[in-house]
């Protein structure tokens, strides 16, 4: 397909063509986006575009079309650039118009000079986002995207889409010795495939441990929210409607990759001149470093099309409102109940045979903040799973299972050391003029598993207190106050928090479920890991679709049921005014909501309401019982 190759590999030629045709008026820009939109709509065209997520930067051709699935981590200041400029040949005096859109450097031929005074020059504005891969993205998500990708990157090189991700140290090393780069690649080509798999697994497993041993000051901090993350960070230049994007939004961008080495030269030049003439440079060295890092480490993408993603689950159609995806949804809905039963069984096993806890876990996993009333977020459902065995293995495996089910997750080990030393709240570094990320800067619908079983007695210092407070705020209000040193700014978030603890958690939670193991496996490790291997991949995929899909459904309560619930509540209060409060009603309503959704019903029915009440009653009874037990022990 020569045509495909053209717009993929050399989008500039297309843009140039459109530009040349429509030059005097400014609607060439619109035509460019329309052209690419059309191209990408063609069947599976999006799969032909290589993704920066799974192809290392140096395999990609500069100035080719790429896509990138990412989270907006920071927003830099808007910049003005030459939208259209004119070059002049001093000898022949020939003038040529160029476009500056989608470029970092205004290009001109060897014999030409840019005429900065030309009346044709158009100054335009664009916005730069600093984007990182979706934090905590599960391995299966990445794999699924890769297997869907049909992009073959420059067949001349011996590239196969392996998941090898080199660390930036290596990268930098290679930049220093560009001649070495080639041989190193051809040489290591073989063992890339060999060693990738275990290496990746290892990094995942030890993701939590990375927290404890903070990265030994890398040459350039790529500012990932979670420690131990890998992947490309990217400066995404947005040309239109940048106001609609927010920090922490998950985007999929299609754009032109720019890794012009000139960009790095700019850096050095400016740094040199800054020592000579401080007046010239307005920014400090750190700021320079952060805002224009070498293009080989942080590539630039000039966005042609960008869209917010509702979810990052590759098993679901990207947009659920379209016609074809509706059939997908209805097909899946028809086989919903067996999937639910299977999932319930699976989780029951995982939770050592406790079906009630498994039920609540499902509700938790499909919960999402669907609205906010003034300050009150509605739809959050933080579950505190108390009574967990104290050893590390259980909670770790629970996390692994969740990781297998949801597209993005993170396990936060609540140790004194972690609380005191890790960075939870993102804060603004004014010297470098960027938002330094923290653990709590997560994309919507990320599952955060807080492991409180690790917590020992000890002293929290100031930072620790702040971190715990932030975590508490996150759970209660679903917002994080980013620290801008002179003031704080609230960023609403939507994170599912699951707390595992021995006793009642010190963090607030919407509902506490006490685990009652029915079976005590002799070898926990073996038992837990065998669970995952026992599940068929196809079944696992169904679980994944189930959880992601149900989250996106609408829900309502009919007038009739409202009345019934009202009656019920009044009745309950009459019988037991001490223990039934408004909070209980809140919670029961929530449980009822998710319960209905979990079986695919979008309205509350009387049965579901009763079932919700029943679940709540069971749960409370358990807590009561636990209290008694404790009381007796004391």
């Amino acid at each position: 397909m020569p045509c495909v190759a053209d717009w993929l590999n050399n989008p500039f030629s297309i843009v140039q063509g459109i530009f040349a045709q429509n030059v005097p008026n400014s609607d060439w820009e619109k035509k460019v986006t329309e052209y690419f939109k059309e191209k990408l709509k063609e069947n599976n065209a999006t799969n032909w575009v290589p993704s920066l997520n799974d192809v290392p930067v140096h395999y990609l051709k500069p100035n080719s079309l790429v896509k990138f699935r990412c989270m907006v981590q920071d927003m830099f200041d808007p910049e003005f650039y030459m939208g259209v400029y004119e070059t002049v040949d001093p000898n022949t005096n020939a003038r040529v118009l160029h476009f500056g859109k989608y470029r970092d450097v205004a290009e001109c031929g060897p014999q030409q000079e840019i005429d900065l005074n030309s009346s044709q020059t158009v100054t335009s504005e664009r916005q730069t986002f600093y984007c990182v891969p979706v934090p905590g993205e599960s391995a299966w998500v990445k794999e699924a995207y890769i297997s869907a990708s049909q992009a073959r990157v420059s067949p001349s090189t011996s590239y196969t889409p392996s998941r090898h991700k080199r660390s930036y140290e290596e990268d930098e090393d290679m930049d220093l010795h560009p001649s070495k780069q080639k041989e190193q690649h051809t040489g290591s080509g073989g063992d890339i495939h060999g060693c990738v798999e275990p290496k990746r697994l290892e990094t995942e497993a030890s993701a939590g441990h990375h927290l404890i041993s903070p990265n030994c000051s890398p040459p350039l901090d790529l500012n990932f929210p979670l420690p131990g993350e890998k992947g490309p960070a990217c400066l995404v230049k947005v040309y239109e409607s940048w106001d609609s994007f927010k920090v922490n939004d998950v985007l999929e961008v299609y754009g032109i990759l720019s890794v012009d080495p000139v960009l790095s030269i700019v850096n050095n030049e400016e740094r040199d001149s800054s020592t000579l003439n401080p007046v010239e440079s307005m920014d400090t060295a750190e700021e320079q470093r952060v805002h224009s890092p070498p293009a080989s480490l942080v590539p630039r993408i000039h966005v042609i099309l960008a869209q917010k993603l509702q979810h990052i689950n590759p098993l679901l159609p990207a947009c659920l409102n379209e016609e074809e995806s509706k059939t997908f949804v209805s097909n899946f809905m028809s086989e919903l109940s067996p999937v639910r039963a299977e999932l319930l069984g699976f989780l029951t096993h995982a939770l050592l045979g406790d079906s009630l806890a498994a039920e609540y876990l499902i509700l938790h996993l499909i919960s999402t903040v669907y609205a906010r009333r003034d300050v009150l977020p509605l739809g959050k459902f933080t579950v505190n799973l108390s009574g967990c065995p104290r050893n590390n293995i259980f909670t770790e495996h629970i996390y692994r299972i969740i990781q297998q089910l949801v597209p993005a997750s993170y396990r936060l080990q609540m140790t004194i050391e972690n609380m005191n030393h890790s960075r939870f709240i993102p804060h603004k570094d004014y010297a470098a003029n960027r938002l330094v990320s923290g653990v709590l800067q997560l994309a919507s619908n990320t599952s955060l598993v807080v492991d409180e079983t690790q917590l020992e007695q000890g002293q929290l210092d100031t930072k620790g207190v702040h971190n715990v407070t932030a975590l508490g705020n996150l759970i209660t209000w679903q917002k994080v106050d980013y620290d801008f040193s002179y003031h704080q700014m609230e960023f609403p978030c939507n994170i599912n928090v699951l707390i595992t603890s021995e006793g009642r958690s010190l963090l607030p939670s919407d509902c506490q479920v006490h685990l009652q193991p029915q079976i005590i496996p002799p070898n926990m490790e073996e038992y837990m890991s065998s669970l995952l291997t026992a599940v068929l991949p196809s079944v696992l995929n169904k679980f994944r679709i189930y959880l992601s899909l149900l989250r996106l459904l609408d829900y309502s309560i009919s007038e009739e049921v409202t009345k019934a619930v009202e009656e019920d509540f009044v009745e309950m209060r009459k019988n037991d005014p001490e223990s039934v409060t408004a909070d209980d009603l809140h919670r029961t309503l929530l449980v009822a909501r998710f319960l209905s959704l979990s079986v695919g019903q979008t309205t509350l029915s009387r049965e579901r309401w009763l079932r919700a009440k029943q679940l709540e009653a069971l749960r409370k009874a358990r807590l009561q019982q636990q209290k008694c037990v404790n009381g007796n022990e004391l």
Binding site: D74, M75, D77, P78, F80, M82, G100, R103, D104, V105, A106, E113, I114, D115, L116, N117, S119, T121, T123, E125, D243, F245, K246, V247, D249, V262, I265, V266, E269, N277, V279, E280, M282, A371, R373, D374, V375, L378, Y430, A431, N433, L435, T469, W477, S485, Y486, H487, M489, E490, P492, I557, T562, V565, E566, V570, R573, P577, T581, A582, H586
Partner: protein, 741 residues
Amino acid sequence: MSSPASTPSRRRGSKRGRGSNPSTRKSQDARSPPSQKRRTDDSTSTGELQPMPTSPPADLQSPAGPDALFSSPPQFQHSAIPLDFDISSPLTYGTPSSRVEGTPRSGVRGTPVRQRPDLGSVRKARQVDLHSDGPAEDITTEQSLGQKLVIWGTDVNVASCKEKFQRFLQRFIDPVGKEDEDIGLDLNEPRYMQRLEEINMIGEPFLNVNCDHLRSFDENLYRQLICYPQEVIPTFDMAANEIFFDRYPDSILEHQIQVRPYNALKTRNMRSLNPEDIDQLITISGMVIRSSQLIPEMQEAFFKCQVCAFTTRVEIDRGRIAEPSVCKNCNTVHSMALIHNRSMFSDKQMVKLQESPEDMPAGQTPHTVALFAHNDLVDKVQPGDRVNVTGIYRAVPIRVNPRVSSVKSVYKTHIDVIHYRKTDSKRLHGVDEETEQKIFTEERVGMLKELSKKIDIYDRLSSALAPSIYEHEDIKKGILLQLFGGSRKDFTHTGRGNFRAEINILLCGDPGTSKSQLLQYVYNLVPRGQYTSGRGSSAVGLTAYVTKDPETRQLVLQTGALVLSDNGICCIDEFDKMNESTRSVLHEVMEQQTLSIAKAGIICQLNARTSILAAANPIESQWNPKKTTIENIQLPHTLLSRFDLIFLMLDPRDEAYDRRLARHLISLYYQTEEKMEEEYMDMAVLRDYIAYARSYVNPRLSEEAGQTLIEAVTKEMFEEALRALADDDFLTVTGKTVRLL
């Protein structure tokens, strides 16, 4: 060349000679229309793009025979001219008539001109342009257009502009005159003439001009100022100086008066800056986040010939010094040496301004913009200050490499500061004068007034407050009153000091009665709210503490929640769990509304005019109806008496209530998004309403109401006295809402 007035014809002749020489350039100039943008570009690029000025050898050769007779090498022309003319004024170029009038620089009055680096960065470039352009323009303007002389590239006619501005200065009488700076000014006299008088007395040669005034006086002049600040402001300077020295011929000033316009209505928000604003006068508000060290910027380099000791001065041209390669006197090559301590420097400082939090759309990070402050404006602001900056927006292309012709297609932008205006000091409930104007447009005020006419406004407002929290109308009303605040009475003359205007409220009640939620809501509603939890806050965190800056070894006062919420509301949750020493800090704050600090050698009293909204649980966590209120709350009397309103939030435990509650809660769970939007709008309205009421309405207690009050107070016992006190404020503020009519 040194006396232009006497040699216009010669000069023109020479120009013509030169002008015809490089034909390419001329045609180029003629082709491109004189636009704003072009001139900025010139500033950085002429050197490279126009072959003439940068290549002195070529220049030396190029002038034809007649030229050589009277003009020394053209290069020196460039450097010599600025020395003799008023450099701060662009009017020197191409307008011989204005030059004859005498720019004040000529030294007759002995007041030196001070350069305006804030305007001047482009000066030189234009000069070059005008030299080449000059002839044509001179001829046409002088011969055919006569008086219709305009500055190149603009529609500004110098003479008329100056005249208009002088008229403005002499005649403008501020019709409103509400600004605080006006103290001591007679409102019926021309405002700026009084200012000039002030300058004469104080000796601070800066004239601040409110653009709003200018606009109401002469719309066209205002437009010119906004669009061509670089040309118009020097004209204003000239005008102001002429008036000033006419009136006060004996006055001695450090340098000539500089006009500083402010409050240009062009732009308010950093986000709305766009390429169209480049080179225009803008005003934006924001917060200073970083300021650089002082940078000495060379304005004029002083060269001395090592051979014959001949000296010369060279203007800095865009950060570069054109070092003279040949001594003019003895013709020795490369003999000129820079004498640093005889060169002229000006102060410069880079400041980073960040968008103020209020202007930001939710969910985005704030933008920043670089400012360059010059001379007197250096060190006027500190990090953390909120300022309104008036200045000229600049964009400069970045050159990838001086040797390579490709250019990074991005511009660097900054603002040359002309005027700072701090907004901190006068913030009324977070709504400062400036934003006030923004928020309360005519319709808005109309709407608010309309709203206030409704009889049930009080109920309406209270139900608009935290709609997600069910009932507790009384408490909501109480909080509403707190939001409005009492009137601040000044009893200083009687020696009592300020009378406390803020109302403190304590919410006390059963757990789970959404006290915290109410607090959160209030915290989100008021612009200057602080939220702390009693358990986590220490005395220091509430008040202020002193730290030593590791770099500067300077002691810095860091303010805590109470001081930060000055003029706002400080919400304290879990009040009962606060430890005793922390709570004692509140005593002073709640009654005197100040905070005294004596720490690490810093003794000071900070204003903490904050209302406190506290929430506490009863002593046994559940309200015990058998005990009295006091016993249940268990807070020290001294502290308790400082709360004006104490609300009990109890579970009423009756069926009807439950029913309503259930209905309310369920509605929360299925209401549609749109409806929520509506309610959110209400929150904005509420906020505006409160801000409006606070800033414009000053109620007075009517005689009748006072009478009833006295009766009430005398009748009641201690327990009720508290409530009566509450009533007191109640009435004050009800009076306020009524007065809105």
